[in-house]
Symmetry: C2
Subunit: 248 residues, 2 copies
């Protein structure tokens, strides 16, 4: 027996990255503080600068730190798990243009219903800009009625209240026109009876049950920017989505 280890030693850069990551996770280098310089880490780990930089680059990519040329690297902390990205149906609702698969029913001012007013944090009956269309799901051809609501003040200058077809999704349009960024979207899915106008638009019987989905698009401060309400007849096979499970 030569005393050879049963497992290969981890690469040096991996060991350095692990050490630094543990320190960040354990609060030795708290968020907002500067990490030791490359030169210091070279001395501490007895490695070349390239090897140290490789470890640091890996941690940067993971979100543990960020570097400023000439200044140093600041600790960001343990990266928080991101919330999942929207499933397909929500993505389509936010980004689908009005040019295909859709029929614009109307666009303009309307008084906010209690539900919409609550979500937009405005008074019931206050004027909002509403934009309504019927469309068909591109995969299932199932019909749905989609209504975008926006506070009248926020809609100024965006063209949301006009009857020209939007060439981009409602969210894309808002972000571009208003130069703002949406941070997240809340989906509330529920079962309810169709309103008379909804039943007419969707060709349903009066008092038919529908699946209703309210999408509240928010900014980083969690203020509502945009609300999209989608109503559809209950699909015979339900609503289907596929999610990835394997971790590469």
């Amino acid at each position: 027996m030569t005393g050879r280890p049963l497992e290969p030693a981890p690469a040096k850069y991996a060991h350095i990255a692990d050490s630094l990551r543990s320190r960040i996770n354990n609060g030795v280098h708290p968020p907002g503080t500067m990490l030791p310089s490359e030169a210091q880490l070279v001395r501490e780990f007895a490695a070349s600068r390239s090897t140290v930089v490789r470890a640091l680059e890996y941690l940067r990519q993971l979100g543990y730190l960020e570097g400023v040329q000439g200044k140093g690297r600041m600790v960001l902390g343990t990266p928080v798990p991101r919330r999942p990205v929207p499933p397909r149906r929500v993505h389509v609702a936010l980004h689908a243009s009005e040019l295909a698969n859709a029929t614009l029913l109307g666009a303009g001012r309307a008084p906010a219903s209690p539900r919409i007013a609550a979500v937009l944090e405005i008074a019931v009956g206050e004027l909002v800009i509403a934009r309504q269309r019927t469309m068909f799901d591109s995969e299932t051809e199932w019909p749905l009625l989609s209504t975008v609501y926006m506070p009248a003040v926020a809609a100024e200058g965006t063209g949301f209240g006009a009857s020209d077809l939007l060439r981009e999704g409602a969210l894309d349009h808002l972000e571009r026109r208003r130069r703002i960024r949406a941070a997240d979207v809340v989906e509330r899915m529920n079962l309810r009876t169709a309103l008379p106008r909804e039943a007419t638009s969707l060709g349903l019987d009066r008092n038919a049950s529908t699946l209703a989905s309210l999408l509240v698009v928010r900014n980083a401060a969690q203020q509502a920017l945009l609300v999209i309400e989608q109503v559809m007849p209950v699909p015979p096979h339900g609503i289907e989505e596929v999610f990835a499970l394997a971790h590469a």
Copy 2:
């Protein structure tokens, strides 16, 4: 005017990475073929080996290629966009143990209903292992009935049919015991009337409406490994999930 360019020249490694990525996207280097060796790329791009390797490493991390020491780098092709990860409610269904917030109602063999048989691709009435519990959503305290189904053959040796409480989620347990990996999960959400046993377990009126969710866990070959059916009374405020929108 000194003729200085208005934009800084891209870093050399970035230019090499872009060039190679374009070639892969355009089919010059098709998936399954070997990329030119580092030495060849060094000559082609008139760069040092470290610079070439940096570009290749970036593409590897993006999923365009993979390297085997001594052999070369094989083109994987344009990475397909990953499907979204499961929202919270699906994650809980797959991973929550039976130790908290849950009451195991029973575990054992049962004949497959037409719906479960279709999903598992077995004959109606064939025996499956079923495991049923009631639980409460940890955020909303809303009740739900959850039933895990697995083909009897696949369940052998896993302890799924036994009455001991599982200390891990059903999927975790299956993956560990069977040393297999699940690739994705299909969620089918629908509205239906509660079966009599479901109504009893959930304390509902007969023929009450429920939101029913069928989760089909599949392997990479899209064969069903596990099915989880969840039934809940229609929540008064619906089912809510939050999705991230901002791109860092």
